[in-house]
C-alpha cells in the first residue's frame, strides 16, 4: 500500500521538473518555445504511456493468471455440487446447484462458529498486536533507548522463522510432559493447560504475536524514523517531555502506518489458518478441523472432498474480509478528516 502511494507521489515530479527546465530554456522566445514544449510533452506522454504499458504488462499477466482466474474459478466451482446415484458407488457428476453451497455453508453451525472464534481472536489479538508493536517502536525511538540495532534485530528475528516451524516449536512448548515451560509453570504452581478448551485461544494468539510483533514494530519504527527531527526538536524546545512527544507529536504523524498495520492485521486475522492447523494436528484436540472459516474451507475440500462447499465458504470469507477492510478504512479516514 505504501509503496503504491510513494510511486504516485513521486510520479508527477519528473514532469514538473521537466516543465520547469523547458520553461527556463525558452525564456527568450516564449511562443515557439511553448509550442515546442507542448509538443515534447505530448511525445513524452506517448513514450511514458508505452513504457507504462510495457512495465505493467507482466504485472497484469501475473495478476490475471494467479488472482483473477483462480477467483473466477472459485466462484464457478461454488455454484456446482457433486451428485451421485444409487448407493453412491457409481461415481459422481457435477451438477449446477445455484447458491446451494452458500446456504449449506451458512447453515452449517461449524462454519458460523468459526466466525465467532475469529471474532474472539480479533478482539484479543488486534489490540495486543497494534499496541504492543507501537509501544516497542516508541521505546526504540525514544531518546532513552540503548542498543537500538540489537533490539530491532532481536525483535524482528521471530518473523524470519516460517509460520509452520514457529507453530511446531510452540506446540512442543505447549505439550504437557514434554515442555520445559509447562514443567516450570507447574512447579511454580501455575497449572495451565494450553491445549484445554479455554487455553486454545491464548495459545494461538501467543504464537501469532510472537511471529508478527517484530514485523509490525519495524514498520512503525521506520515511520517514526522518517519524522522530521526538527519537529521533535521544536517540541522539546516547547517543553514537551518524552510522553507528550510520543502521544502528541509522533503518533499523529505516523497515522498512515497505524492504519496500514491495523488493516493488514485485520485481514491477516481473518485468514487465520497455519497456527491452529498445526495445533490441530500436533496435539490439541480442542482445536477442531473447522476452528476458523479458512480451516473449514480446507477441511471441506480435503477431508470431505466437497470442492463446491469449500469454494463457497472461501468466497464468503473473502466477502467478510472485504467488508471489514472497507469498514476499517472508512473509520480511519473519517477520523483523519476530523483531525
Amino acid at each position: 500500500m505504501r509503496p503504491g502511494t510513494t510511486a504516485a507521489d513521486t510520479g508527477p515530479h519528473p514532469d514538473t521538473a521537466a516543465a520547469r527546465t523547458a520553461a527556463a530554456h525558452t525564456e527568450g522566445a516564449p511562443v515557439t518555445a511553448a509550442r515546442k514544449a507542448s509538443r515534447t510533452r505530448r511525445a513524452r506522454g506517448r513514450a511514458t504511456g508505452a513504457a507504462a504499458g510495457v512495465l505493467l504488462t507482466p504485472f497484469f499477466v501475473l495478476f490475471t493468471a494467479v488472482t483473477v482466474v483462480p477467483i473466477g474459478y472459485a466462484l464457478w466451482l461454488s455454484l456446482f455440487t457433486e451428485k451421485q446415484s444409487g448407493l453412491g458407488f457409481g461415481g459422481a457428476t457435477s451438477v449446477f446447484s445455484g447458491l446451494d453451497n452458500y446456504t449449506a455453508a451458512l447453515g452449517d453451525r461449524a462454519f458460523r462458529e468459526g466466525f465467532w472464534v475469529l471474532a474472539g481472536y480479533c478482539v484479543v489479538y488486534i489490540p495486543l498486536m497494534v499496541a504492543g508493536a507501537l509501544a516497542l517502536a516508541l521505546l526504540l525511538d525514544s531518546t532513552l533507548a540503548r542498543a537500538r540495532r540489537f533490539f530491532q534485530l532481536a525483535l524482528f528475528l521471530p518473523h524470519a522463522v516460517p509460520g509452520i516451524i514457529a507453530a511446531l516449536v510452540w506446540v512442543y512448548l505447549y505439550t504437557p510432559g514434554l515442555s520445559p515451560v509447562v514443567k516450570a509453570m507447574n512447579s511454580g504452581g501455575i497449572g495451565f493447560d494450553f491445549f484445554s478448551s479455554g487455553g486454545t485461544l491464548p495459545s494461538v494468539v501467543n504464537i501469532a504475536l510472537w511471529e508478527w510483533l517484530g514485523y509490525n514494530m519495524v514498520i512503525f519504527y521506520a515511520a517514526l524514523q522518517a519524522i522530521d527531527r526538527s519537529v521533535l526538536e521544536a517540541a522539546t524546545m516547547d517543553g514537551a517531555g518524552e510522553w507528550r512527544t510520543a502521544f502528541g507529536i509522533k503518533l499523529p504523524l505516523i497515522r498512515a502506518s497505524l492504519v496500514m498495520v491495523s488493516l493488514f492485521t485485520v485481514i491477516g486475522s481473518l485468514q487465520l489458518f497455519t497456527e491452529p492447523l498445526i495445533l490441530n494436528q500436533g496435539g490439541s484436540s480442542t482445536v477442531t478441523s473447522t476452528w476458523t472459516p479458512n480451516m473449514y474451507a480446507y477441511t471441506a475440500a480435503f477431508s470431505r472432498n466437497d470442492y463446491g462447499l469449500a469454494a463457497a465458504s472461501a468466497v464468503l470469507l473473502a466477502l467478510a474480509a472485504a467488508l471489514l477492510s472497507f469498514v476499517v478504512t472508512r473509520l480511519t479516514n473519517r477520523k483523519g478528516a476530523k483531525a
Partner: protein, 442 residues
C-alpha cells in the same frame, strides 16, 4: 485416523517382509504378455503412491525381479496427514499415479468420488480365496471389487507385563475386568493408566463399536441406513464416558509427543490398538524391549470378538491405462512371500497379511524380542478370525470421521459427551449424503 493408517502401514510392512522368505505363488512374470502389461523389451512403467514403511524396499525388490514392469515409487504423507487429499486432488487434476494405497475405512469415500477403477474382472474367485474373507468383504462395494487387500488389522491389547506382574493385576479378558484393572493400576500408582482415550482417532472408537456388534452403515437396495443409536454403540459410548469421567484412562492424541512421553515415563502402561501396533510400539519405545506383551482385546462377554482398526489396500486410479500392470504389482505386494519379505525386512512392521497363507512368512520375519519372544502372530491369527463380519464403512467417511474427531476432542473437557459426539457425526453424515443426492434413512 492418520496415525492408525500409519500404524497399519507399518504392520503391513512387517507382514510383507515375513512372507517374502517363503516361495509361494509368484510375481507372475510368465503372464507378462497381456495387454498393458509390458514385455522385457518394452517394459510398462507404472507410478505408485504409498506411505507404508518399507514400500521403497518392496518396489526395489519388484523392479529387480521383473523386466516387464517398472514401478516408480513416490512416498506421500499418511492418509490423514495429507495423503488422501493429495490422492483426491491428483485424481481430480488428471495426473494421478496408477496405483495408490487406501485404508479400508476410506475406500468407499474414494469409490463414491469415482476415483478408482472397478477391478472386479481381475479379482477372480481364485484371487478372493487367498484373502481373509472380511478383507474381501471390505473391498467389495455395490457388488464390485475396488481394491486388493494388503493387511488385516484385528484389535489387540498391548500392556507392560512388568507393571501388571509387579502390582498383581490380571490381564483383563472382559471390559468389566479392564475397568477393574484400570482402578487397580491407578491405586498402585496414581499416575499409571492402562489405556488411552484417543480424542483424535475416531477409528479406535469405531473399532470398539464394531467389536460390540454395532453396524453403523447398512446398504438396503439403493438406500443407506444409518444406525448409530443402537444398543451396542450406546454400551461402548457409556463405558468409555465412564472411564474418562473417572480418569481411569489417559487422554492424549494418538502417537503425539505427549502420548509418547507418557509411555516413556511409565504413566501409560497399556495400549488398545491393532496388529500393526506391535511394530509401531516397538519403534516408539525401543528401550522398553522385553517389558511388553500382547493380549486379545477385552470383550463384552469373554468370547473372542474383534473389530478392525485401519488396514490397507491397493487401488488403481480412474485415469490409469495400465490397470493390469498395476494390479500385477499390487498382487505381488500382497500375495507373494517375496513382496512381504522385502517389506518386513526393511523396518519395524508387524503387518498381519490379509493373505492367509503368508502369515507364517510374516511371523518368521518379525523379531519378537520386544515382546519377550511371545508368539504374537498366533494371537493375531485367532483375533483375525474373530473379526465381526457385519461392519461396513459408509460412503462419506471423510465427513463422518472429521466430525466425530472434532467432537471427541471436546469430550475430555466435559463440554460434549461421547453419545453427543456420535450424534453430531450421524447428523453430519445424513446431511452430507443428502447433499450428494443419495437416499438415506436414520
Amino acid at each position: 485416523m492418520s496415525r492408525s493408517w500409519t500404524r497399519s502401514a507399518s504392520a503391513l510392512v512387517g507382514t510383507a517382509t515375513a512372507l517374502a522368505v517363503l516361495t509361494a505363488c509368484g510375481g507372475g512374470d510368465s503372464k507378462s504378455d497381456g495387454a498393458g502389461k509390458g514385455t522385457a523389451d518394452k517394459p510398462v512403467t507404472i507410478t505408485f503412491w504409498a506411505w507404508q514403511k518399507g514400500s521403497k524396499d518392496v518396489v526395489d525388490a519388484f523392479n529387480a525381479s521383473h523386466k516387464n514392469i517398472r514401478v516408480k515409487f513416490e512416498e506421500i504423507p499418511s492418509g490423514n496427514a495429507g495423503g488422501y487429499a493429495k490422492i483426491s486432488n491428483a485424481v481430480k487434476a488428471g495426473n494421478a499415479p496408477d496405483l495408490v494405497t487406501v485404508e479400508y475405512p476410506m475406500l468407499p469415500e474414494f469409490v463414491s468420488q469415482g476415483s478408482f477403477q472397478d477391478i472386479s474382472k481381475y479379482v477372480t474367485d481364485d484371487v478372493k480365496k487367498q484373502f481373509l474373507p472380511q478383507s474381501i468383504q471390505q473391498t467389495t462395494l455395490g457388488g464390485k471389487n475396488w481394491a486388493i487387500p494388503f493387511d488385516a488389522a484385528p484389535q489387540a491389547y498391548f500392556y507392560r507385563k512388568d507393571f501388571f506382574e509387579k502390582n498383581r493385576i490380571e490381564v483383563p479378558k472382559t471390559w468389566d475386568e479392564f475397568k477393574a484393572a484400570a482402578q487397580k493400576a491407578k491405586a498402585a500408582d496414581p499416575k499409571a493408566r492402562i489405556g488411552t482415550f484417543f480424542p483424535d482417532d475416531p477409528t479406535t472408537f469405531e473399532a470398539m463399536a464394531w467389536q460390540a456388534g454395532a453396524q453403523w452403515f447398512k446398504a438396503d437396495g439403493d438406500t443407506w441406513k444409518l444406525n448409530t443409536a443402537d444398543a451396542a454403540t450406546h454400551k461402548v459410548a457409556d463405558y468409555w464416558q465412564g472411564l474418562i469421567d473417572d480418569k481411569l484412562v489417559q487422554n492424549a492424541v494418538s502417537f503425539s509427543p505427549e502420548w509418547t512421553a507418557s509411555l516413556k515415563d511409565g504413566s501409560t502402561v497399556g495400549y488398545l490398538g491393532a496388529s500393526w501396533g506391535a511394530g509401531v510400539l516397538k519403534g516408539t519405545v525401543p528401550d522398553q524391549s522385553g517389558k511388553w506383551a500382547v493380549a486379545p482385546v477385552p470383550t463384552w462377554d469373554g468370547k473372542p470378538a474383534s473389530g478392525m482398526l485401519g488396514g490397507s489396500t491397493w487401488a488403481v486410479t480412474k485415469g490409469s491405462t495400465k490397470t493390469e500392470a498395476a494390479l500385477e504389482f499390487a498382487q505381488w505386494m500382497s500375495t507373494t512371500p517375496e513382496g512381504i519379505d522385502a517389506r518386513i525386512k526393511s523396518g519395524t512392521s508387524s503387518a498381519f497379511p490379509a493373505d492367509v497363507a503368508l502369515r507364517p512368512t510374516a511371523k518368521k520375519a518379525f523379531d519378537t524380542s520386544f515382546y519377550a519372544g511371545q508368539d504374537i502372530y498366533r494371537l493375531f491369527d485367532s483375533a483375525g478370525s474373530s473379526i465381526n463380519a457385519n461392519w461396513g464403512w459408509g460412503p462419506s467417511m471423510g465427513t463422518t470421521n472429521t466430525t466425530l474427531k472434532d467432537q471427541l476432542g471436546k469430550v475430555a473437557g466435559g463440554s460434549v459427551k461421547i453419545t453427543d459426539a456420535i450424534g453430531a457425526a450421524h447428523d453430519a453424515t445424513v446431511t452430507e449424503l443428502k447433499k450428494r443426492g443419495l437416499k438415506v434413512e436414520g
